[in-house]
Symmetry: C2
């Protein structure tokens, strides 16, 4: 069953004209991450590769294409976690970097800390020789249009957010049985300056433990935080639930207790996986035994050979 | 059994000459928070009152008296959580405010977000009319001395940290059975600029749920984050463990899995409470049925009337 990699490109209400583009990017990122695993790369290498590809793809709310905060600026959160040691790295409210997920990995590998925020995260990026990119290079016309629209007095950014392809993330188990997760996001549409969502927060925006599994979520960040969703789902798995049942339990609890919608990709140590969501759609793909699985609407589950063109 | 309030003033290796001062402040803060509960105040009012007192007390690593980052500056994290709704508010890497715990409460009450960081948190403080205090007013001679000492090439800030009175926090159940927690800290001695520890991270630096209980931790922040300690302890309680047994289980797991030491104060909905630690000491106090309980070394448990002078 190993290796396996599962990727999401955000939960929400994805309009039909955007669903095709959304699923294409997720399939491509899944292929890239799985290629890393297939040639013996680590689960961490695989999830970072997949998430990097989606950060570089302007159709997702992460890296280039991130939503804008209320001031019209991009501030990004990202996290990685290594299930062998429970080591983790995160950045919050970071600017001017193309790949926050790679910076999060550097926090894990090169510091004694788990999370660096704002200017401190950018100072660390400079110290590590990470290229600083112009703020404008991360902003798409689509993001700017939505920002302007949500500055109107009658706007509802939370509602509007659910129509946007969202946060991106991945979970993987490599050939040695090591597990990792990665998540990256531009956050909430028209958020306040300095808003930190679930993605930078371990247990909320991701968790990986070789003994239990891994989760990467997407959806309403504040709701995910209130129920510490990723760790919650893994607790259900520790109690004997399957990755799929635990994911559904966690999402159902989030909906009933705090009224939040979202989705997750989940793996267990044996390589069993799930891509589940309580939102209307979530673009997702999984690669296992050289088969690519993917879908976007509830109940959808297509398969093709991993080597077939997109 | 209600109301009840339990407070900690940090876990670590507290030298005898500082233990007396440490426990005096915690007892005083516990009395103040309990007085709020006794006159019908909410659990949230009680924990914020207790933590505010400790932030204002220069002997603790929170508010005035916070440890300094590597640049010699104070950057603070704080969190509050309301167990009725799972609402929460946090600030990370905030500067120039006397009471980060009160700002965290404003994030919860006045925004749609759960966490604001760095300059965004300070901008929000200004928008709310929170007084800006000079950076120098938060820095004690003791903090500056320790910062200088840890700039030496052979310094070990993590080890040194364990000799410092640490993070402060409180949990409470009010007369209506509502539960809350609050935690506040200056973080890790000589930390990197922008380092965010467990305190700003829901599930790690605190969690409160009316159906289960509440936890506020202290100790090695990065270890607390890796095991999502507060939520972990509450999961054990959901599985039927007592507040005391669950706290011990969580701390033992943190020690064995990631090598971290710390302590917690914990309550359950019936008002049963625990103050447990794996570090050498933790200054703690609890108020219940007009009795003040307190201690600092392992096995210590003194009691006196709540109305007796300190």
């Amino acid at each position: 069953m190993l290796p396996v990699l599962v990727v999401h490109g955000g939960a929400g209400h994805i309009p039909p004209e955007r669903a095709k583009v959304s699923i294409a990017g997720v399939r491509s990122a899944t292929r890239a991450g799985y290629a890393v695993l297939r040639r013996g790369g680590s689960a961490m290498d695989g999830v970072v590769e997949a998430v990097t590809q989606l950060e570089n793809n302007p159709y997702y709310n992460a890296g280039c294409g991130s939503v804008l905060n209320v001031k019209g600026e991009v501030e990004m959160d990202a996290i990685v976690m290594d299930g062998k040691t429970l080591a983790s790295g995160a950045v919050s409210a970071v600017r001017n970097v193309a790949n926050p997920v790679q910076l999060a990995r550097l926090v894990m590998e090169k510091t004694s800390h788990l999370c660096l925020t704002a200017e401190g995260a950018n100072q660390f990026a400079r110290d590590m020789g990470v290229a600083e990119v112009p703020a404008e290079s991360l902003i798409t016309d689509y993001a700017r249009m939505r920002w302007r629209k949500n500055l109107q007095p009658d706007a509802n950014p939370v509602e509007c957010q659910m129509g946007k392809m969202g946060t991106v993330g991945a979970v993987a188990v490599d050939m040695e049985g090591n597990i990792a997760c990665a998540t990256s996001t531009g956050g909430m549409l028209n958020k306040m300056e300095g808003r930190v969502g679930d993605t930078a927060c371990i247990g909320c925006g991701g968790y990986a433990d070789n003994k239990v599994g891994a989760v990467s979520p997407t959806g309403h960040g504040e709701a995910i935080m209130k129920v510490v969703l990723s760790r919650l789902i893994l607790f259900h798995m520790e109690q004997g639930q399957s990755a799929e049942a635990a994911s559904d339990s966690g999402l159902a609890y989030m909906k009933s207790r705090v009224g939040g919608l979202g989705g997750v990709v989940t793996v267990d140590p044996q390589g069993r996986w799930a891509a589940r969501f309580s939102s209307r759609q979530m673009s997702w793909a999984a690669a296992q035994k050289d088969t690519l699985h993917y879908g976007v609407a509830a109940g959808e589950h297509f398969t093709q050979s991993i080597d077939e063109p997109n």
